[in-house]
Symmetry: C2
Subunit: 386 residues, 2 copies
């Protein structure tokens, strides 16, 4: 049945092909005469596979079949109501997402956006035109040029340290007044306050933190945490719908969606992610080497160190400087280290002092301590009663 409908491709206007159809001048020939054909649409993929999606093994047909909402019959482009009055509500047109900052992470996120059938525009001062051409992404050498295209969502994928400069350089007047601006930084209070301060009041703001990256997400995004805060979404107009549509990209990719305030995020992240990066950074200073006698615990630390230093030091510095809770956590870690040192040296000092000051022989001290320590140790202590 599906294959018998192939010759209608491009004739009936499905949402994902609407823009392409409009661009190529294709009109909806079947619209008035064979309206029922739209009801067959569910049997065909709603969105033509983008070059990137076709090349990407993550975008399997099974993925698409999980999202029947995208495959419903919809009104044609000129706004006519659907032919069947009982048909489900129309699926929204795909989003046009303008990524500002197209480094590793921007490129990585673009993959998911494309897999979900949306259009990606990208701007970078570096030249990614060849990379983008291969993947069906429109590339712009300036943010100004990208903004002239008036994307639905501007997604800031710059580093933490560059974000203020990047956001201040966006020509907001060129964008539509209901544009949504989103970010993907590993800190959240900073971009939230920055965007609230700088953006025109009618702009929507979604602060997000995809807690994965090109390495941890290379086999798919399933179950990986995606934190978001709908900081400002206007009830009137279609900002609510577009916001949901944007978030559904990550939901459909299988992410574990965690709605959380930016403040709460930064408190949790300082106690977990920042601590983890700090341990990795500290260990990287030790130049840990694999030994013939690695324990499993040591191997997990070597792996952690490798993962940490594969991120830039700027990211780590950003986690520290742009999270108000990081200093407290660094201090906690320093105190914890000092306490452990004290426990070791304090006990050593007790032992030596007993020998030097109290003139107790080493062996006697050991035996005496044995008795005291016995209950703390899981191994059985066997000391002759003699």
């Amino acid at each position: 049945m599906a294959s018998s409908l192939r010759h209608f491709a491009g004739l009936c206007c499905f949402p994902a092909s609407a823009a392409a159809a409009a661009a190529s001048g294709t009109t909806c020939l079947l619209r008035r005469y064979t309206p029922n054909f739209c009801a067959f649409a569910a049997l065909r993929p709603a969105r033509p596979a983008s070059p990137a999606a076709a090349a990407n093994p993550l975008a399997s047909p099974a993925d698409h079949e999980e999202h029947p909402a995208h495959q419903q019959a919809v009104p044609c482009r000129d706004g006519d109501p659907p032919a069947l009055s009982s048909a489900p509500p129309p699926a929204p047109a795909p989003l046009r997402v303008g990524i500002v900052g197209f480094g590793n992470f921007g490129q990585f996120i673009a993959g998911g956006i494309q897999r979900q059938g949306h259009t990606v525009l990208a701007a970078s001062r570096s030249d990614y035109s060849a990379y983008c051409a291969d993947r069906g992404i429109r590339f712009f050498r300036s943010v100004d040029a990208l903004c002239e295209e008036q994307p639905d969502v501007v997604l800031i994928c710059s580093s933490i340290l560059s974000t203020e400069g990047v956001v201040r350089a966006i020509p907001f007047h060129k964008l539509r007044p209901d544009t949504i601006v989103a970010d993907v930084l590993s800190v959240k209070q900073f971009p939230r306050n920055l965007l609230l301060e700088i953006l025109p009041p009618s702009f929507g703001i979604i602060c997000t933190h995809p807690m994965f990256g090109p390495e941890s997400g290379k086999h798919g995004w399933s179950k990986l945490p995606f934190v978001y805060d709908k900081v400002r979404v206007m009830e009137d107009g279609d900002q609510v719908a577009k916001c949901d549509q944007f978030l559904s990209i990550f939901e459909q990719e299988g992410c574990r969606m965690v709605e959380m305030s930016c403040t709460e995020h930064d408190r949790y992240a300082a106690g977990s992610q920042f601590i983890t990066h700090t341990i990795g950074r500290v260990l990287s200073q030790l130049n840990l080497k694999s030994t013939p006698i690695n324990t499993k615990g040591y191997e997990s630390l070597m792996q952690l160190t490798q993962n940490t230093v594969s991120d830039s030091f700027d990211l780590y510095y950003g986690l520290f400087m742009y999270n108000v809770n990081a200093t407290e956590q660094l201090d906690n870690l320093e105190r914890a280290f000092e306490r452990v040192r004290q426990m070791l040296y304090g006990r050593l000092h007790d032992l030596i002092r007993k020998q030097i000051v109290e003139r107790v022989h080493m062996q006697t001290v050991s035996l005496e301590k044995l008795e005291n320590d016995r209950s703390n140790s899981c191994a059985t202590h066997l000391v002759s009663s003699a």
Copy 2:
């Protein structure tokens, strides 16, 4: 064929049943009359399954079948040569291993020794008589009583801190002069020097470190590292054979056998195991909690912390106090932590000083730094040239 031979059980003297046969007064009735029956021995298990081995799923029949050396025809107990002059060399009698210190780790190691068909004797001041009775282990309330049984190997399974007292309390004069003494401590130079100092010169010394325990080895010992150093093994007599037989327990259990000097072990272990335990101890002071936004790295640190504190603090203290390289590693870790703190605060100080002293506005500083930092960051920085 195997079952048809069952009625000969206990008549022909196989090595594993020799001691039992001697104890029960059974003599070798078939010895002089039907010598060829010994050649059938390979068809029957050489060692009767111990109660523990029978109950333990790790001791599958397949395990035993992998070790045909244990199933060869052997001379009968009184030392007669084997009936067939072309038969392979006789398999050694099973070892009698006396474990001194029968806490968690001693019990854990006893399981492997029994699975390999050897006899376990155990001594502890705590009462493990019921535990031992269930598992076919002879239990002694004192090391003296155990030593009167003259085991082939005395295996010290005490904690690091109690080992000196335990070793000094062993009545060496009750043991045979070719006894082998082995230990399983997580530090190696200390027991090596202690045993060399205290043991009678004819005693064999094997220092070992099974780098796993009841938790990491609960599903079997396959591929887990077992470090050993044959510190002193006499060439004459059967110490060499008994040493090899003892080590073969761990080899047959599937351990990755690592022969290494005690000095080398302690150098590697301070840089890996002690560092790992220190990180776990430091993090345990922070009371890490699971958050809704755990990263994989953070989860690995939580796991490490949990594993570390499941060991006693005495073990950690032992790794520190009884390894000559530990202080250096603790100092290295402290310096590494200080360097990372310096990198963070130093950069922060630069930024603030620029504002306060040089009167440069925050945003300008950020943009200027952006330019400098650009090459260090993997994300593309998009700063307007304006």
